[in-house]
């Protein structure tokens, strides 16, 4: 297997965003996860400043979900370190500040919308009824509180899953393919909501294999075979690859990475932020 590495170092993000020198909300240092002979996550370095939306982009099986599971402490790393809000993961207490929307819906089909939401919220210590109702309004499920989850459509289940992940107002939010099976109109609403959360100071890490969603992120991390190929704002990545298509940019970085050897841009970024 070829050893991909990122090409040129990333440039400073747009001026409207909080400075990259702020303490990173999510951090990985030489993070590695092996499943037998397979390197699912192969030495990832990243330091993500708070208050932005980060897109983890890569094909299926590129290690996005494993990376998120390492960052949330659900999987134990073979080597390397993961920190969220400055706290070493895994940390059960720290999970109260983290929201995680899994790729599968992760809701109980027999339970009603309201029962699912209150159950997960209670585990986070969130029991404020009015506040919980508001989070159902955000995903437009407030008229369906009594409906068993198994009677919901796929898109509604996705929305319920999101409400369950966000009900406790987490500071760092991991969303694993949140828009799969969601219709285009709702997808726009999802992204508007994500931007509102980021504007309120939350840090969002959104994984996707759909490139047309990438433009909605503040910064992208191209992932392939467990490596970070390139990082940067969508426009910067397009400019560096010399194309106006992110998909082409991804492929160009992938082939360049295969031939250019390791220049270790993400590692440099991580070192910078540690100073």
């Amino acid at each position: 297997m070829a050893n991909y590495a990122a090409p040129a170092p990333a440039v400073q993000a747009a001026a409207t965003l909080p400075p990259a020198t702020a303490a990173p909300a999510v951090e990985a240092v030489a993070l590695r996860k092996d499943f037998g002979p397979i390197h699912a996550v192969d030495g990832v370095n990243m330091a993500l400043p708070p208050g932005r939306i980060y897109g983890l982009l890569g094909p299926n099986g590129s290690g996005k979900t494993t990376l998120i599971r390492l960052l949330t402490g659900l999987a134990s790393a073979t080597s390397g370190r993961a920190r969220v809000m400055g706290v070493e993961m895994p940390s059960r207490e720290n999970l109260a500040r983290i929201g995680y929307m899994t790729q599968s819906d992760g809701i109980y089909p027999e339970l009603s919308v309201w029962e699912n939401l209150t159950f997960f919220a209670a585990l986070y210590g969130q029991t404020n009824r009015a506040d919980l109702l508001k989070s159902l309004e955000l995903v437009e499920l407030d008229t369906r509180t009594g409906t068993p989850a198994m009677q919901l459509s796929g898109g509604m289940r996705r929305r319920l899953s999101m409400a369950c992940a966000l009900a406790h107002h987490p500071a760092v939010i991991f969303l694993d393919e949140p828009t799969v099976g969601v219709d285009p109109a709702l997808r726009v609403q999802f992204w508007d909501h994500f931007h509102r959360l980021a504007a309120d100071g939350a840090t969002l890490v959104v994984s996707s294999h759909v490139m047309d969603e990438a433009d909605r992120c503040d910064e992208l991390l191209f992932i392939r075979d467990g490596h970070v190929l390139a990082t940067g704002a969508p426009d910067q990545l397009r400019a560096r690859a010399g194309t106006d298509n992110l998909e082409t940019a991804f492929l160009r970085f992938a082939t360049e990475g295969a031939t250019a050897g390791s220049e270790g841009a993400p590692a440099e970024r991580a070192r910078e932020s540690e100073r």
Partner: protein, 383 residues
């Protein structure tokens, strides 16, 4: 340990169960149906009558005399119907095959005054079941011999330390059945529910919250313990109580419940079954790690449940098991539950009895071990 989170898990399991009528039926109706069936079979099996014939093949006057005496002794015995029409051994064998006879007493061809041997012949498809008429025949033989000697035989009266010697099989089986059902159904339901958590992605989601493994296991134990408790209450009420319904129009009189006699405190019986059930919850969680589908959970029945049924004292006392199997029986939770329940329900033992305390203590220990094992498997990576 956070009580609010444990309560959240508990409430969720109760809510899930309320919406699952099939599982509720499995918990509350299936055991009653099985116990009612068992009670019916056991109570009518005792009024069975055996069809018996006596055949003389010896051709000696002494043989004929013995046959006559035997027939006289057997005739009119309760539970025995004597057939005097059977002439020889081959006819008798054919009648056994036709099921018109259950037992034949044969004075064999080699019978002599020196060797007074008598043969008891049955069909042999189910030797143990067919033997049920043998004690009555033996008693008749004794009477015949006593008459011959002209001396009276002492009467034998059966007595027991606990319970009553006339206790039916049902009375001794009832405690066993109560414990075994609680164990079996709780194990199956928890195993499958937790497997669903594992494969349905909700366990992953749970572990992404601040809930701890111990809180999950405790919440599950409380949730399923709650339903197991209700189940035991229903089953105990059915086994111990008896409600006579008088005949009404075309419906004949019948009774609901078995009315099994018990001398012990039902609350202690209850406590034993509850601890057993909590162990079953943790065992279900633990074993669900090794299953990928619901079918694979059911595959644990022959491995986990059936041996406990065979060795736990359900059919044979532990002391009668082969010496190699006795240590195995002594590590099975059902063994201790059955012993404790018998002590309480038949011998009337209370919490002051060292035997009951030992049973309860072992059950608590086993439940604790499996709770720890269950908690250890929860964070096992799913990948």
């Amino acid at each position: 340990m956070n009580a609010r989170r444990v309560a959240a898990v508990f409430r969720r399991i109760v809510a899930q169960f309320r919406r699952d009528p099939r599982s509720l039926a499995l918990l509350y109706i299936a055991p009653l149906a099985i116990i009612a069936l068992l009670g019916w079979v056991l109570s009518s099996a005792q009024s069975n009558t055996a069809h018996v014939a006596v055949v003389d093949e010896s051709g000696l006057p002494a043989g004929a005399a013995v046959a006559t005496k035997l027939e006289a002794a057997l005739d009119g015995k309760p539970g025995i119907v004597l057939d005097r029409s059977v002439a020889d051994d081959s006819t008798a064998r054919q009648m056994l095959k036709d099921k018109t006879l259950d037992l034949v007493v044969v004075i064999p061809a080699d019978f002599s005054l020196q060797d007074r041997k008598i043969e008891l012949l049955t069909l042999g498809l189910n030797p143990a079941g067919e033997a049920s008429a043998i004690p009555q025949v033996q008693q008749a033989l004794l009477t015949a011999v006593a008459d011959n000697a002209g001396a009276a035989l002492p009467t034998i009266v059966r007595a027991t330390v606990y319970g009553s010697p006339t206790a039916t099989q049902l009375d001794s089986l009832a405690p066993v059945v109560v414990g075994f059902f609680a164990y079996f159904f709780v194990f199956i339901l928890t195993g499958i529910s937790f497997l669903r958590e594992r494969i349905g992605g909700t366990l992953e989601r749970l572990l992404a919250t601040p809930v701890s493994r111990a809180e999950i296991v405790l919440g599950y134990s409380l949730g399923f313990g709650f339903f197991a408790t209700l189940q035991v209450a229903v089953v105990l009420a059915f086994v111990l109580g008896r409600l006579e319904i008088p005949a009404l129009g075309p419906v004949p009189a019948f009774a609901i419940g078995l009315g099994v006699r018990t001398v012990g405190n039902p609350l202690i019986a209850y406590l034993l079954v509850l601890v057993l059930g909590i162990g079953a919850v943790s065992l279900g969680i633990f074993l669900s790690t090794f299953a990928r589908t619901e079918l694979q959970v059911l595959q644990f029945i022959p491995i986990v449940i059936v041996p406990q049924g065979l060795l736990g004292g359900f059919f044979w006392p532990i002391e009668q098991l082969p010496s190699l199997l006795q240590p195995v029986a002594r590590i099975l939770p059902v063994t201790y539950a059955i012993d404790g329940l018998r002590q309480v329900m038949i011998a009337g033992a209370g919490l002051s009895s060292p035997q009951v305390l030992l049973d309860l203590g072992v059950l608590v220990g086993i439940a604790a071990v499996f709770m720890a094992l269950a908690a250890a498997t929860i964070r096992r990576e799913v990948a």
